[in-house]
Symmetry: C2
Subunit: 436 residues, 2 copies
């Protein structure tokens, strides 16, 4: 059988990983897919640089649109990143009847609904395993491997940069700024790291996982996003004393009121396997009603891990494109006509437990005032630590773990506590999840 012809849009590090792995494993891939997978051509803005990165033999063009719609191409592989012109090119490829493979999490999280509708209408496949958690086949696990389950929640360490920073902060007791600088020197963080550390990258990914877990459209604009830039090493230490680790988690959960979709630093019990995922590694925990919790762990970034997922998608398309499009694995795991309009809850309606650090004047009755306010709001306390602030012997840090409550209630209580004249600094509030 003729080799499948693919076009690469983009010639960056992921593209060079894809070319390298396709080349190195071509024999193995032919044995798996039943036919070869051949890069017909690459579109790149700078053909000189592309040739250096990908090798001299590949035909390179600067005309992205022409390549994305060329008649001899079976699958268009979009590796450019960003929204425009990636979106226009993907839509044009679909209109031209091409299958599409993309690693572009922002594109899928923001424009997935439009893209999947176009693909469904045209009967082509759009695959995006590489968009979430790099080399970990989590999309396939959720969409196919766990298809028997009513998914209850998904929680993941899905940004390697922030996990590296948090791991180092804990290991070395260092500040966020110090570790960020180190991560930048080591290449784990970009020169402008805001996309990672503000949680936006993780939010793109959990938005996609939310859609395929619960059968709802992708709704990035409804995600609650809080990054790690304001995290204090002291809180990592206190969490540790209480038996918890702090991780930047993407969380999505089905509740009777609607779906939670959120990214924020989260305390999780140190004994959980996922709490022990260190450095730049990623891991996703999925809770299904039949299987219970399953966990998926691996490299979440890097040219070859990302290429691993891109090429798995290429093999999938090669194996499955002849199946009836009406029945074939649906893009968002659920049939397009069967997506639900379950609302995504605003963060104020989310129910979770909390870690609070409150700097108070060290005098009698302060703790009673605080616990009284919490109790009045119906919030109960799970654990309590009191520690000298280290700044003045008239200041004390009160650290509280609460049981679960609704965020809006916690906000009210915190406003009242903050207004006490014995409270001397802005309250630190983190969310806590038991993940069970």
């Amino acid at each position: 059988m003729n080799p499948i012809q693919i076009a690469l849009l983009g010639a960056g590090t992921v593209a060079s990983g894809v070319v390298k792995v396709l080349e190195r494993n071509q024999e193995e891939l032919r044995r798996r897919a039943g036919r070869g997978i051949e890069v017909a051509a690459v579109a790149a803005r700078n053909p000189e640089k592309a040739r250096e990165a990908l090798g001299q033999d590949l035909p390179i063009t600067q005309d992205f649109m022409q390549l994305a719609t060329r008649s001899d191409i079976d699958i268009v592989v979009e590796l450019m990143g960003g929204i425009s012109p990636a979106r226009e090119l993907v839509l044009a490829a679909i209109a031209a009847g091409k299958h599409v493979v993309t690693a572009n999490k922002a594109l899928i999280a923001l424009h997935g609904n439009e893209i999947f509708a176009a693909a469904q209408a045209r009967g082509v496949m759009v695959a995006f395993e590489a968009a979430v958690a790099g080399g970990i086949p989590i999309i396939k696990a959720l969409r196919e491997g766990l298809a028997a389950n009513r998914i209850e929640w998904v929680a993941g360490i899905i940004n390697g940069t922030t996990n590296f920073i948090l791991s180092e902060m804990r290991d070395k007791g260092a500040s966020f700024e110090t570790v960020l600088g180190e991560a930048q020197r080591l290449g784990y963080a970009e020169a402008d790291p805001s996309f990672d550390i503000e949680g936006i990258d993780a939010a793109h990914k959990i938005t996609i996982l939310c859609a395929i877990a619960f059968g709802v459209p992708v709704q990035f604009d409804k995600a609650y996003i809080e990054g790690i830039a304001k995290l204090d090493a002291a809180d990592i230490r206190y969490a540790e004393l209480l038996g918890y680790r702090i991780k930047l988690l993407g969380i999505t959960r089905r509740t009777p009121a609607g779906i939670e979709l959120r990214v924020h630093p989260t305390l999780i019990p140190a004994t959980r396997l996922v709490a022990n995922v260190e450095g730049a590694m990623n891991a996703v925990v999925v809770q299904g009603d039949a299987v219970g919790a399953t966990l998926y762990y691996g490299k979440g970034a890097g040219p070859e891990p990302t290429a691993s997922s891109v090429i798995a998608d290429l093999v999938d398309v090669t194996r499955l494109h002849t199946a009836d499009p009406e029945q074939r694995v649906p893009h968002l795991a659920f049939q397009p006509g069967a997506l639900a309009d379950t609302p995504i809850l605003p963060i104020e309606q989310v129910q979770t437990a909390y870690y609070l650090r409150i700097r108070v004047r060290d005098e009698a009755g302060v703790l009673a005032e605080i616990t009284h306010i919490l109790a009045e709001g119906g919030m109960s306390i799970d654990a309590l630590l009191q520690r000298p602030s280290g700044e003045s012997d008239q200041h004390t840090d009160v650290i509280l773990l609460t049981h679960e409550t609704i965020e809006s209630r916690m906000n009210q209580a915190l406003a009242s506590i903050q207004a006490l004249d014995t409270v001397l600094a802005p309250i630190v509030r983190l969310r806590k999840e038991e993940l069970r």
Copy 2:
């Protein structure tokens, strides 16, 4: 579209899990698969008991063969276990053009080649996700999610009973016999636990993973199998002191000389995520050349976790049976014509590192003799502990970790050491893997 009609062969605990989850999640499954999945009938030896277990409404027959080949059935689900009559029924179903889903690891490990050849010739699918690691979608991950990779090795905790026993032995410092009794009381071990504790169950599973990792036929008869019954709590303790945990691992690895396929108690570094998989949980680590190490964790047994995998296979067949059988995901991950005849290495040719515990007379020169014999055989020592035996102050236990060597060399050296008259008891030899 009409619901897919399935026949269940067998009415045990897994069947009841399948019926329960199909019923509970029927709406969700229809949204995923695009059509319903309906149990048309169940074959059971004892219809009374089956009705009690599965509910009164299901049509139940005692004629397994008639049901396996009945014209209205789309998919036959074999949940009987054992080789005969499961093998005959599966082959008859295939001959009648039925797709087959099975949870039967022994059947696939021993007769997979025959079954897949028949299925390929008839153009039907045979799916067996539930045969390995219960609810963890590891077959799908290896066969599809990691398809880009040249797989280097797979190592898994794939038997929950033995992992529960080893976890308890470590936690409580208790003996194998004590913990086995406890596991039997708790229902984690069967009344006759030999299949689990002797490593046969794990060997069935690693045989299947070996085939789909490397594209070779299933070859259970070539697997090296060593269980945990002879494991001493002292060795778990010594391993711990050296920074290792002992797990019963199924291991399969590609080497230049051939493929390793083995099950035995194994020392692994305590810092590895997989070393922290406790109790009856399962986990599989896969090393691919592009993605690096990925890990898959979850429940390896139980009615609903197993049903999760069985039903995922049902959804897969529903989604994909219309694809061209020549290209569709191949049963063993590689095209049937592309399976390799790479030899499976006998254990004597396996290369690994070792843990040795040697009880010696406590006198000058004994250690020199032992290390001399190892050095003569080209084996170098990585770490050494010496401990009073606890039995006599004239006895000492010498604990050694060696670097990697060929097992046949180690056998020769151990024979020489055992023959020393300063060596007072049978040498304990365990294998050690760094998993990197």
